[in-house]
Symmetry: C2
Subunit: 552 residues, 2 copies
Amino acid sequence: MVPVVIDFQTHPDRYRHWRLRFEDRVARLDMDVDPDGGLGSDYELKLNSYDLSVDIELADAVQRLRFEHPEVGAVVIGSLKERVFCAGANIGMLASASHPLKVNFCKFTNETRSSIEDATKYSGQRYISAINGTAAGGGYELALATDYIMLIDDGSASVALPEVPLLAVLPGTGGLTRLVDKRFVRRDRADVFCTVEEGIKGARALDWNLVDELVSGSAFEEEVVERAAEMAAASDRPNDVDGVELTELERRFGDDQIEYSDVTVEIDRAAKVATITVNGPDEPAPTDAAAAASLGADFWPLRLARELDDAILHLRNNELGVGTFLLHSRGSLEAVVEYDRFLGAHSEDWFVREVLLMWKRVLKRVDLTSRTVITLVEPNSCFGGFLAELVLASDRGYMFEGTLEGEEATATLFLTESNTGPLPMSNDLTRLETRFWGDGAGLERALKAVGATLTADQAYEAALVTEIFDEIDWDDELRMIIEERSSFSPDALTGMEANLRFAGPETLETKIFGRLTAWQNWVFQRPNASGETGALRRYGTGLRPDYDTRRV
Amino acid sequence: MVPVVIDFQTHPDRYRHWRLRFEDRVARLDMDVDPDGGLGSDYELKLNSYDLSVDIELADAVQRLRFEHPEVGAVVIGSLKERVFCAGANIGMLASASHPLKVNFCKFTNETRSSIEDATKYSGQRYISAINGTAAGGGYELALATDYIMLIDDGSASVALPEVPLLAVLPGTGGLTRLVDKRFVRRDRADVFCTVEEGIKGARALDWNLVDELVSGSAFEEEVVERAAEMAAASDRPNDVDGVELTELERRFGDDQIEYSDVTVEIDRAAKVATITVNGPDEPAPTDAAAAASLGADFWPLRLARELDDAILHLRNNELGVGTFLLHSRGSLEAVVEYDRFLGAHSEDWFVREVLLMWKRVLKRVDLTSRTVITLVEPNSCFGGFLAELVLASDRGYMFEGTLEGEEATATLFLTESNTGPLPMSNDLTRLETRFWGDGAGLERALKAVGATLTADQAYEAALVTEIFDEIDWDDELRMIIEERSSFSPDALTGMEANLRFAGPETLETKIFGRLTAWQNWVFQRPNASGETGALRRYGTGLRPDYDTRRV
């Protein structure tokens, strides 16, 4: 039994850092970080500062609000600490964390903030920040991910991004990008704001569009309630149906494997490979949306999405040596396509919409995972519709040509409307559009393949897979490809994949995960931040950091 | 007298690495790198591999072709080495270079490649690569910056990006980005291509769109000549006028200053500041384009652009400790605006077009410089039209309110049509559009200020400057701002500025200078690339690199 170092599964009953309560159609998600509740023992989470343990609960809450609370149309993020909203990422944690840990921490927090924006935009759950005091660094960045920022006007409450002056790192959880690209703060004001350690408060914060509303202390709670109620009332979410409980995942951890209901992970640490197999459905698709909801967390597409998401997060954070994910699927392609059609036909239903939105996020998680992803389409695999996105999300796709000796099944691939719209990447293009960026004829050819059962030849012809191999070559070729991949520098692969995966236009999200994150990763490695005399290490010691003043 | 470590001024007569010749309307720019001609003494530039010295000559050639050869409509980049086009950046140089040197080297090579694309797109000089053998790494990336790639089909010539498998770094001179975003190579093919050490040749290179034409060995030279002649014939450049010689810059280097004709640089190393003053014109603007051309390199806007460009490059590469540029101007605002109107009125003329295009590139160089840029608008300054772009290009702009004691002059600012179109940033927006990204009302207000002499109050009202100070506060405020800036970590500032300067959409260029460069800078710091047992250090030793296999 491998000890699970970081587990992304939790439940409101077990939260140590957040309190979730409900007032009619409004959810109140209050931060109340337990200083001793962090993952590490060498730092204290004072003043609502956070580490990954805090963000795992936040991600869980955001997820549950979508599924378990169809009635909730607005979510207020607040704080239970007096005069403190959130002090941002814990500095002791950042100072002591290894580079991979820091990078993984930032990626997950960024994904969670994107999921908040996704809920606001697509799920009818608008997020509001109720800033009752200091919102500094990651604390203000959390607010930036919400749709409406209310700041108490008590003469001291402020928003701040003090990372540059104080810590020699960037406001890297989307802060820099959201300032100029979401809140449209003028670049010179953004520059000033990011260098003012103590932040900006009151009228100036409003004037610079750092917040949306300024409320006097006595009226604060009342105004927050009112604003949230207004937003909730405008939501398209149903007020009269039951939610779907996200029950505990069935997981069994072995030394080098994880077994979920519909996902199996086999880890080969010597080869640096994890083989992830997703299973098709056992039951036929339901007949209507209500029947799907009544299956709850056992509705196959939802169960599979949650399990795959958990598996990816587990591997990302607990198996750093695994450089390559090999994705397989097993099951009835017809049954998958039937489910896929069901999702498409009922996408207006709140629950089905949530399931599709969850798949969108899981697939983005694959796109943003800094591991090589290779998908294998084999006889008896079931990559159809939304599952076919796993082929398109991979760095390379290989398909088996012909049949296995003595068997009849051939490998087939099936595209549906799910591949042409509802599951865009972070760049807001479909994976097909990204794949054929600048190649209109290629895109057209691929679109013509929608709705047809594609053999290896046909999938290759439509440019949907990288290469096809028959039984004679399959094992050897794949072995060589995987061995070769494992021989390369993991860092070079990470940089290469991050650049090749996202052709075409950029969005807030791609800017955050591409440009901003890359700069932050660079800064995290600089001695001025992380060295013995760097700002992260020196913070709180009373000593000033000692900088190499050369500009690079 | 400070020794000039790296000088960006050169002349074809002094080239050690390139041969420039002319055939009617076609220029042939042949690479013939002198192995002993590099900047460093600890590496040899074999097989047309390059260091900064090679790129300085290339940049010079590209620049001279535009100004000195109006007749040239196509440029063929070739090689004089047998069966070798270019082996890319020299690995010994990369292994021994300091981090700042590597980063500055990459930035300049990237700017040069962008200038090649700019000449093709806007200047009527189309670039062709004639690949006569191996084009590897930076060699193929150079070809990617040209508009048309011809590959000899001799069974061995190939194009390759072997950085990832061989050196554990990225094809960071635009390679990864141009593959998927310019040549529209499918992402899985790009992935395969970037991991095949020996590259791809012949029909497959053509099929994957890695090259535009495949030519048999015997017909190669003939086909290259023919293709170039066709392209030159389609150029809109005049065939019947004299070029403008780019005469040697007048420069005097002192211990802590540089004096050009129209630019003065004062360096305060203790304060980590360089004060750059640009001077307005001494003479009135010419009456027609021919008169401007007859002034040649002494045409004030051209002379100033060249001097400012050289000053920035000098500071970037030779004064790493200088973290802040303070930009001043001095002269007659009316005279500047008169020149600015002249440029606008004659922008169809080939020479005036080149001057404007040069200003576009110099201003982009400012945007892409990893130093804080602060512009000061004072009494007797002359920021009008294209010079006002220096205010908009800066991280912060400060303007003097009122008059100096006992004097009459006030600070004024003047926007023209030059600020609303012809000088876009790398993101393809004007600096005004970027400044007011997402703020249509703000942009409109600023556009209404075009054509008016703006006082400090008015400029502040139009949100064109960050802050205005009167005589009482001016010196103290600026001193504090500059001191504060110099106290911050230079790395954090670099990352912050790179993210705040480019709001809005992204382009090939911003992706290269933002995302790709940031990842490359990150990779350059990783032990897997640059450490004692990393790939760069181990290359050529017979020892395999020893990688930390954890994915970050």
